[in-house]
Symmetry: C2
Subunit: 151 residues, 2 copies
């Protein structure tokens, strides 16, 4: 009986939480536009870090930090915009995002963990550290895109 009550309360919270996530965007196309915008910003700033790590542009510790700061903030944003009803429309998102939510969540967590390592790396100001950490983030990006984004 008590277990049932808890289950009911948890269920209501889950429903409210899902409703709130949905309510952040007036229309599904707004959510799709938003998450694509966040990915554009992430991609731009990560590419600058990658170019430095790979020696394509001169390494500048301050510039690396500035780019990482933007990447860290914006890489937290897209995930709230994969709510119900946002699987159709102008998007390359695969159905697996919704059919295997635990795996999609794990891919997000992987990115955030690698992003924290990147943050630590840019703070040391050493190119070698950046070179290791940027590969971790790049692998997290690729891993998620391979599984959850159409080509």
């Amino acid at each position: 009986m008590f277990i049932k009550q808890i289950a009911r309360v948890v269920g209501v919270f889950a429903l409210l939480s899902a409703m709130c996530a949905h309510a952040q965007f007036a229309k599904p196309e707004d959510a799709i536009k938003y998450r694509k915008a966040a990915m554009t910003i992430m991609n731009t700033h990560f590419a600058r870090i990658a170019a430095m790590a790979q020696g394509k542009i001169p390494f500048d510790a301050k510039v690396a930090q500035d780019n990482e700061e933007v990447f860290a903030t914006v890489s937290k944003l897209p995930w709230s915009a994969f709510g119900e009803g946002t699987d159709k429309g102008d998007t390359k998102a695969k159905a697996e995002i919704w059919s295997d939510q635990a795996k999609f969540k794990a891919a997000q967590d992987k990115l955030l963990a690698e992003s924290l390592k990147l943050n630590a790396a840019v703070k040391t100001g050493k190119l070698d550290d950046l070179n290791v950490a940027f590969k971790g983030v790049g692998a997290a990006c690729k891993g998620c895109h391979d599984g959850f984004k159409d080509k």
Copy 2:
């Protein structure tokens, strides 16, 4: 003679600086896509703050702070993406951005100043403060769009 040398050095720095700004984007369309993405993120998070300030959704000081944090970071981004050659293409940017750069810069500075006030307002956790500050930011957005963005 000395003045001329200084002028020459300043000129070279200005040129290098402009070249670096341009070099941040491989193609003009990349810069346009990037600045529009930043505006999408800014608009989404500012709209949530505005909805709270206007009583359309319940006021939550923590949520206001989280949204302001994203807004503060991303509102610094679009301006580097209005370099030379980015006046044509898939953009509503007016020619005045390039013909009256001082005025465009002043409009950016106005936004950043109002954004700092918004930052101070969300930290007090008072709805009245938020209500004043969000109007300042909104006016800065509108002022810049009126002068520099086609309808």
